[in-house]
């Protein structure tokens, strides 16, 4: 996952805060620093995290680096999970037997489903890689444009 995950600033001027140095600001800053370390160390390289972020639309729009973090994780989540170990049975009655039966059926259908996944997985991977590349390219371009704009806007000394 991207190591430089920039998160939304807290935006409070603190002018109406009784305590000028609220503990919560420090706590959140510590958490963010720890998360950045964790991202660099690969501690959040987990496809389940990508799936859990699908509803985090606000961060997509409100956090400049969220898309990078998300796409990095998406690369690890693009392949269809073929492992039958994840197959569960919700009904309590004969749960173990039914779950085993389902896994057997899944394995037997491997000859059928393999053709689907062999075609789907490369498409998923290509889409994720293309999107990530596009995002990096566009971000770099925007950065260059902003720098040029800043140079134009700064009054000559």
């Amino acid at each position: 996952m991207h190591s430089s995950l920039k998160t939304v600033p807290d935006g409070s001027d603190g002018s109406d805060v009784a305590d000028p140095c609220p503990e919560v600001r420090d706590l959140v800053a510590q958490v963010r620093a720890a998360v950045e370390d964790g991202l660099r160390a690969g501690g959040y390289r987990d496809a389940r995290i990508v799936r859990a972020e699908r509803w985090n639309q606000a961060a997509f729009h409100g956090d400049a680096r969220f898309l990078t973090y998300y796409l990095d994780g998406l690369r690890g989540a693009v392949f269809v999970d073929l492992d039958p170990a994840g197959i569960r049975e919700r009904r309590r009655r004969l749960r173990g037997v039914l779950a085993t039966f389902k896994r057997c059926v899944w394995r037997m259908l491997g000859f059928y489903s393999a053709r689907l996944w062999e075609q789907q997985n490369p498409v998923n991977a290509a889409l994720a890689a293309t999107t990530a590349t596009l995002e990096r390219t566009v971000s770099a371009r925007i950065d260059r444009l902003e720098q040029a704009l800043n140079r134009l806007e700064v009054p000559p000394s």
Binding site: L5, T7, V8, D10, G11, S12, G14, D16, V17, A18, D19, P22, E23, V24, R25, L27, V28, V31, R32, A34, V35, G38, L39, Y44, D46, R48, I49, R51, A52, E53, R54, W55, N56, A58, A59, H61, G62, D63, F66, Y69, R90
Partner: protein, 399 residues
């Protein structure tokens, strides 16, 4: 508190219920109405026969009656083309410049009550002030159009695409007075509509003092595991699907048996893995809600569209710290002001912060007590009453 010349006040509120809560904005306006009536003002509530924010079906009988100690008049909601409204909503929020004809059609197929507006046209001049809100309702926009100068708009504004519509900008410019819930909401309105700095008053809502037994709910429910709580509408706009996915993953990744308690209304689609660990109380009494809050490790509010977050204040009064989404400037600022809550931008931060609160009960207690002191200081009714009085001095009977 008797603002000179302001004794007859109408409240135009799209939904109004004697019991329970139909919505945060509606609850806020109802509280303001009750406070003014208790202080001797003649308050009349003009509202619709609908209670549900999805169907807007006319379920309450039309007519005049006393509700929650107030003189309330109920009018039917106009028939509307909901499918057309949905299509227009998508078009208007697409980011492209909006067509005034689309805005007008969208308004006319929103939530209107011709009967209420006719009544207001006949009787509006008899009120010193008309308090109307929240902002995204055709009947509120029509109220400001009819009696701009004497209307005090309580918008409950969010930074959402609809806030950028021309018809909304016009309404803010025309309203005689503006009442905001937080300084953050006020700042947003000033930025969006280029309001002068002295336009509008931040009022908020008072929270009555209460003490809730933190062990009562767990005892009643037979809970032995720690739990977090969410109170309010369950819908995508409130971030509840995000909360469910985050908590499901939290349980999987950390192995911690944290339960989720829900109060409020709305259909819930809970991930199968989380379902056995959710205690959905639905609508409960205030006492039950406060007791559930008091025993929670944290109150989690994943919504980014809030103008006040009344439930946050209630959680803090119950001495419970909060976890909010960092993309909500209002809730984030409240957490800083109160020194009683943390904010997260993504799952890793959510996970780390919830672990922090689970593992450090002294931190939880400290943040919770900070929250309670903050609410008592900033949201006591005498302070809110003073600000409400100041807000009513805005505008005048020029329309």
């Amino acid at each position: 508190m008797r603002p000179s010349g302001v004794s007859r006040i109408a409240f135009v509120i799209p939904r109004f219920s004697e019991h329970g809560t139909v919505g945060g904005a509606e609850t806020l306006l109802k509280c303001h109405a009750q406070r003014l009536a208790a202080a001797g003002r003649r308050v009349t509530v003009l509202t619709t026969c609908a209670t549900d924010h999805v169907s807007w079906a006319n379920v309450l009988p039309a007519g005049r009656r006393e509700v929650a100690g107030l003189d309330a008049h109920f009018f039917p909601v106009d028939p509307r083309d909901a499918a057309l409204w949905e299509r227009l909503s998508l078009r208007l929020t697409s980011g492209r410049p909006s067509d005034p004809r689309d805005e007008d059609l969208w308004l006319r197929n929103g939530w209107n009550s011709s009967a209420l507006c006719r009544h207001l046209a006949s009787h509006g001049a008899g009120f010193d002030r008309i308090v109307a809100g929240p902002y995204l309702f055709g009947l509120v926009i029509e109220t400001v159009r009819m009696f701009a100068g004497r209307t005090v708009l309580t918008p409950c504004l969010h930074d959402e695409p609809f806030a950028y519509l021309a018809v909304v900008r016009e309404m803010f410019a025309a309203a005689g007075g503006l009442v905001f819930n937080t300084a953050t909401e006020h700042d947003l309105a000033r930025k969006l509509y280029r309001l002068p700095p002295d336009r509008g008053v931040v009022v908020g809502m008072g929270i009555d003092d209460f003490d809730a037994d933190p062990r009562a709910f767990a005892r009643r429910a037979g809970l032995t595991s720690p739990y977090v709580i969410y109170s309010g509408r369950r819908e995508e706009g409130k971030g509840t699907p995000l909360l469910f996915d985050y908590l499901t993953l939290f349980r999987e990744r950390t192995g911690r048996d944290v339960k989720l308690v829900l109060t409020g209304n709305g259909e819930v689609v809970i991930p199968p893995a989380l379902r056995p660990h959710v205690i959905d109380l639905g609508f409960v009494s205030e006492t039950e809600k406060y007791e559930a809050m008091a025993g929670a490790v944290a109150f989690i509010h994943p919504s980014v569209l809030e103008s006040l977050g009344i439930v946050l204040l209630e959680a803090w009064m119950a001495r419970t710290p909060t976890l909010v989404h960092a993309c909500s400037p209002v809730l984030r600022r409240q957490c800083v002001r109160a020194n009683a809550g943390l904010w997260f931008s993504n799952y890793p931060e959510f996970e780390a912060e919830l672990i922090l609160l689970l593992d450090q009960p002294e931190l939880r207690d400290r943040l919770g007590n900070n929250g309670r002191e903050f609410v008592r200081r900033a949201y006591a009714w005498p302070a809110v009453d003073r600000r409400l009085l100041q807000a009513l001095t805005q505008g005048g009977p020029s329309a």
